[in-house]
Structure formats: structure tokens, C-alpha cells
Symmetry: none
Subunit: 261 residues, 2 copies
Amino acid sequence: MSSDLLLRERKTLIQERLKANGRVLAADLAAELNVSEDTIRRDLREMAAAGLCERVYGGALPVVPAAHSSLSERVAMAPERKAALARTAVGLIKPGMTVFLDAGSTNLAIAQLIEPELQVTIVTNTPLIAAALMEKPGVDLILLGGPLNRAVGAAISARAQRDAELLRPDLCFLGTCGADAEAGLTAIYFEDAEFKRLVALRSRRLVVAITSDKLGTAAAHAIVGIDERAVLVLEADAPAAHRTAFEAAGAEVLMAGGPER
Amino acid sequence: MSSDLLLRERKTLIQERLKANGRVLAADLAAELNVSEDTIRRDLREMAAAGLCERVYGGALPVVPAAHSSLSERVAMAPERKAALARTAVGLIKPGMTVFLDAGSTNLAIAQLIEPELQVTIVTNTPLIAAALMEKPGVDLILLGGPLNRAVGAAISARAQRDAELLRPDLCFLGTCGADAEAGLTAIYFEDAEFKRLVALRSRRLVVAITSDKLGTAAAHAIVGIDERAVLVLEADAPAAHRTAFEAAGAEVLMAGGPER
DNA sequence: GCGATTTATGCACGTTTATGCACGATTGGC
DNA sequence: GCCAATCGTGCATAAACGTGCATAAATCGC
């Protein structure tokens, strides 16, 4: 009874604890703020839903922005699901095409699956993808240069944008941070979204491979809406509601096979 | 008994151990985190399922990013000799410098040895080197773009040359195919030599790490001669005759240590 | 002002999760 | 081919969890 904090005050305090200690325990917080653990759990649940912390069994941890991990680390996450998406997406690339491969771990997976002898021209702004494609003798490889953005792992500066303006790709494989039928495709960083939008608008078709965790979410910055030019590749277990919503918006939707061929 | 970690914290810690030590042992982790080995095994199993490590008898190993390129294969050739050269060469990079890193397996080795927190600007035309440098937070990274030359593994087109004309690096780490006091530095491919010459002429100093098999040889196309601006890094067992010849031409010569520090 | 509605909280309940232990199967060195 | 170390599985248990409901305070509508 000593301290009756307002809900908002309590949440603020929890956030401070999170930042200071790198973790919070539900039981400790309950004792300290003398409220029931149920209340603390509710708080943590709401904070997690708002993206302010990560809920774990027993308490919560600070959110590590997905961008904080490097691209090569992101590749390691859910590789078999990404591979399944990539197997489906890579089939869209036909001989003779000019294709833009944006940054993103799923696009790296796609690059690795390209047939070595397939005759295509591939443009990318991502060194890691370029390195992977160097192995493929059939691929004509063009790199967009300029200062590299470390968070994105690619060249997205004004320089790269100017180079991109000269392109007219047949296909553009876009990496995205969120995908929603209403909000469209979204990205975490402004400059990244700007770059993606520019390339997307110049491409004849858009291909976006979307892991299920990104479905129905929207990040801070809009790239483009979903329309007839979009080809969305979803995981086999993606909710049908999202699929129909995307199709209603005009997009073509492909379902990836299971993790193993 | 010191601390009971949350599940997620434990897994994060295991991953750090993996990265730091290159392996983890189930028994050690159990003792250190004072949980049962069963729990550790469960963790490792789940992490392996998520592609975060590779499960082996007795513990786990880090996943090896499968990216094997021809350039990275060249790195695998005589790696300890190249590493010795690289260790000496990398010491020439001082905070605040702007450095050009040319293509070449030795230059890739140098890139990998750069201190993560060293504050430098690095320009490169090689995707693989850029990918390696992406991991270093202190490095400002600029990529030269354009069509990639598959034989060289780097961007050396007219486009990249025009971009390079805007540079004035403090140091230029040049890859070379032959090095001789009279013939100077030479390269196999015409366009490659052209590019290297352009960058070399614009740099304040030239650093060339030379494996002994290239000493006294000349390839088809000249890059530049040996002069006062050159710093040559030779292997410990390099013949003294070459060293004195290079010094007579005005170059500074550094001898690398043995394969192991 | 006073009833209606919302909001925050606690409690009771059944469910899920993390963990350790027991036991039989597998592995790998010798 | 043996033996100990290591492994996976099934099971038990306690802690943590979510949900539905009740209560009390705060807010709103009139």
C-alpha cells in the first residue's frame, strides 16, 4: 500500500529497470511495487505487444532491434523457412532477365539458389549477395556502390539511388520489414525505405518473399502499397486471411512448399 | 549458484561462447550455469534446430556460413603465410586514415585483421572484402560499384575508375600478380592493371604485401614502378637480394614475422 | 449528483513451460 | 568389440502463465 503508482508510472519504471539491469523478473517487480504478479505480467505483455520489451518466461528482456544484428547473423535465423521461400521465389527468374536483388537475408538465400549457369543480369546493392553471386558463371553482376549503411548492410545512399535511377529491372526482389494488405510494404529505416521505393517503382514486377512473422505488421516507413505488380511469396503455413487480403489488393500470391523439397 | 538466468539469456550466453571460443561443451556449460546437462542439451538441440549452431557429440559448434567463393578459396591457400603478411601490413593503418583496399586474397586477410573499433574510412571495389568489413563497427565503408569482373572478383570497369578518380587515399593496399624491382608491379589482366594504376597514382602511399612466389616475376601488364611511395611487405624467408633491390629503388621494405605470432 | 461504463487490479482456475531425473539407446575412443 | 561418456525420451513437478470473473476506482453521460 505504501506506493500506489499509476499504471503509466509503473511501466516507465519497469522500462528503466530493463535498461539498467538488462532484464526484469516478474516476481521481483511484483514484490517491489507490491502489486500482484498478474498485474506485472499484464504490464509486460502489453509492453511486449507495443514492442517495448521482449517477453520471456519469468520476466522480460530489452528488445534487441533486429537491425542490431548483422546481416550474416540474420541469415542464420530460421534458415530452412527462408530456404523454402527462396526455392519458390527463385523460380521466377527466367533466362535473359535483368533482376534487382535488394538487401535482406531472404534475398541472400535466393541468390545462393540461383542456377550457376542461368544467363541473367543481376544488380544488387549488397556486398554479401554480390559475393554469393560471384560463384555463378552465368550471372552478369552489377554492383551499386557508394557508402554502405551498416544497419541495412547495403549501399542505399544518394549515390546508390542515382545509380538505381538508370535501371529498369524486369524483376525486383525486395526485402521488407513489414507486409500488410492495407499498410503495404514497410521498412524500419527511412533511407532504406526511400531506396527500396525508388527501385520498386522502376521495376516491371515486384517479388517479395515474406516470412510469416512479418505478415500483418507495419514498420515505420512505407515503401509501396500492394498492387497488381506485386508477387508475394508466403510460407506454407501462412494464414489464409492474409493471402486473400493480398489477392484482393491485386497481388499475385505464391505459396512456398514445406521446409524440405 | 551465482545467478539463475532466464532461458533466453542462457541461450544468448551460449551463442556468445560459441562465437568467442569456436565451440562449447555441454558439461562445461552445465557446470558454469549450474543447470543440469539435460537442460543444456535441450538448449543446444533447439538452437541447432533454429540453425544457430551445429550440434556435435559433447557440445556444439558455430554454423559456418557456407559462402565459399573462388576468392575465399584462394585465401585458404597458404593461409598462415598470408596471415603473417597481413598482420604486418595491417599495422600501417592508423586511426582517421582513408584507405583503399584492392582485390586480392592477401588484402582480404588484411581486412579480416582490422581492429573492429578502429576508426577508419575504407574504400574497396571487392564485395567479399566489403562483406568482411561490415562486421567492424569502427569502419566507414565505401564501395565502388559497377559491373563486376569475375576473373578479378571486383569492380574495375570504367564506372569504377571514374569513381576512383574522386579518391585521395592515405594508403592504397594493392593486390599484385608480379613484383620485380625493375619491372615494377604487374597484373595479369589489362583492365585490372589499368584500374590499379589509376588508384595507385592517386594514393599518398602504396602498400603491397607480396608472397615470395611473386618475387622477381612480371605479369603481362604494368601497374606502376617501385619508388619512394611504396611500402613492400615481404615474407620472413624472402631472399635478401630482392629486399635490397627494392630498397635501392627507393621503396620501404617491411619483413613479416613467422606464421605464428 | 447519480447511474452507467470503462479501467485497473486481484483471485481462482486450468494450462503451459522449464527443468531435473530415470532409463535405455547411441556414440566414439581404444 | 568393449566401456564410459553422451545422448534422447518419457515422466514428474513446480513455477510461471493466461483467462474468466469479481471488485473497486475512475470516467463519462445526462
